[in-house]
Amino acid sequence: MMPTAIFVAVAILLVLFLLLITKRKEVEEQESDQATAATPSDCRDALQRPELVLRIFSREDREFVLQMRSPRLQQIYQEERRKVALHWVRKTSREVSRIMHTHRLMARLSRNLDVVAEVKLLWQYLELRFICGLLVLLIEALGPHALHDLASYAGELSQLIGRTLPDAAAASRVTSSENPGTL
């Protein structure tokens, strides 16, 4: 039954990708003209300025709003900052796609294309897209400071474990001496 499902899946995948090819617009294909017109040295860093990231995800603003002790203000701040953070992540994701798209359009013409380098770049690209997707989910669910909060929580938790570990080790030694048969 398993091979049957795999074979049918191959056929379905093939049809789906063929449909994608027919749906793809020639406009995208012709973008190569623009891409090839630019030399690699022209490929500037298209990502946004780093200051922007520092500002969006900065804790200072949150702490300032918290000091105001206004639940309404906090709510507005959370909603607005979430939107801005989501916009930034999505824009970054789009920029990453654009960087890779430009690369592909130029690399396809190269006679000395390095397959390993291409695979590595593809892997990096997939990782980035995955991280962006994960960030969107986290920001949607937990807010713009979700990652920092999670990191802080993990840090606190590891410290707590570190503090409790000697006690636990001592306790386990006591338990094992009381019950020599148990591990």
Partner: protein, 277 residues
């Protein structure tokens, strides 16, 4: 239709036996003749539009199928006891020529894109290597049960290899945004669709009991659909879009990779800041 044999054999081969003739046989003949007509139209238009020169293997395949239909029809009508042998002999020949069509899609589609062509060679090598390794590792239950199993199984396995090869090419074409033009896109879509349908039919023919009654009709009808697609796409010749030569690019590939890598690393760093701030 007094001379009609009792066995209903469609284009897909002698896989089904019917007790009754009449409408079913008439339908078979209609499909058969329509297919022959469409193949003839394709060949005539191909010669008129000089597409035969651009896609010689594809038109050889169509010519072969066209001749094959006549041979099969003749044998089916006047020498039905030999039909099964003739069917499988011609079917495997058409499978071999069909594989060459995939090579032609690769050759014509990637002529102006040496980078993608290089990538395609590696990818196809991996696909065929994996299939071969699987066969060697598990000869009795591998993808090719060359001698132990029936022809039907062998045809299905070869179709799967073809399907994987086309799938790899399609993925590369999509990833590197290779422009096709109407003609090549039609050939690729039609042949890919035909292979996908063949895989489904040949895989499920043994599994689904009652559905076997309908499959022999589905395949010829879908084959007609594919012929219709080809006739539409290849009715007139259209120029193949070519990638612009970037003379500087050959030396600059390493610079390009380094530049892309740097930009992706910067993106990584910035995404990392969101957790560290």
């Amino acid at each position: 239709m007094s001379l009609s044999p009792s066995r209903l054999v469609l284009i897909s081969g002698g896989r089904l036996e019917f007790q009754h003739e009449g409408f079913v046989v008439m339908l078979t003949m209609t499909i058969w003749w329509l297919a022959i007509l469409l193949e003839a139209a394709l060949l005539i238009r191909g010669i008129q539009e000089k597409l035969v020169r651009r896609f010689p293997i594809f038109y050889s395949y169509i010519l072969f199928v066209f001749v094959e239909e006549f041979i099969r029809f003749t044998v089916y009508r006047w020498l039905s006891s030999r039909y099964s042998q003739v069917y499988w002999a011609t079917q495997f020949l058409s499978l071999v020529i069909g594989s060459a069509v995939i090579f032609e899609i690769y050759r014509v589609g990637l002529r102006s894109f040496p980078g993608t062509a290089r990538m395609a060679r590696y990818l196809l090598l991996i696909v065929f290597g994996a299939v071969f390794a699987k066969t060697l590792a598990n000869p009795s239950g591998g993808l090719f049960w060359w001698f132990a199993e029936r022809s039907l199984m062998l045809e299905r396995n070869l179709r799967i290899v073809q399907g994987l090869a086309i799938l790899s090419l399609v993925l590369l074409f999509l990833w590197y945004a290779i422009p096709f033009g109407k003609n090549l896109k039609g050939i690729l879509f039609g042949y890919g669709l035909f292979i996908a349908m063949s895989i489904v039919q040949l895989t499920l023919s043994d599994t689904w009991g009652d559905i076997r009654l309908f499959w022999p009709f589905v395949q010829p009808v879908s084959y007609l659909l594919v012929l219709g697609l080809w006739a539409t796409a290849l009715w007139s010749a259209e120029p193949v879009p070519e990638g612009k030569r970037a003379t500087q690019l050959e030396d600059d590939y390493e610079v390009l990779v380094a530049s892309t890598r740097t930009q992706l690393r910067r993106a990584f760093a910035r995404l990392g800041w969101t957790a560290r701030l």
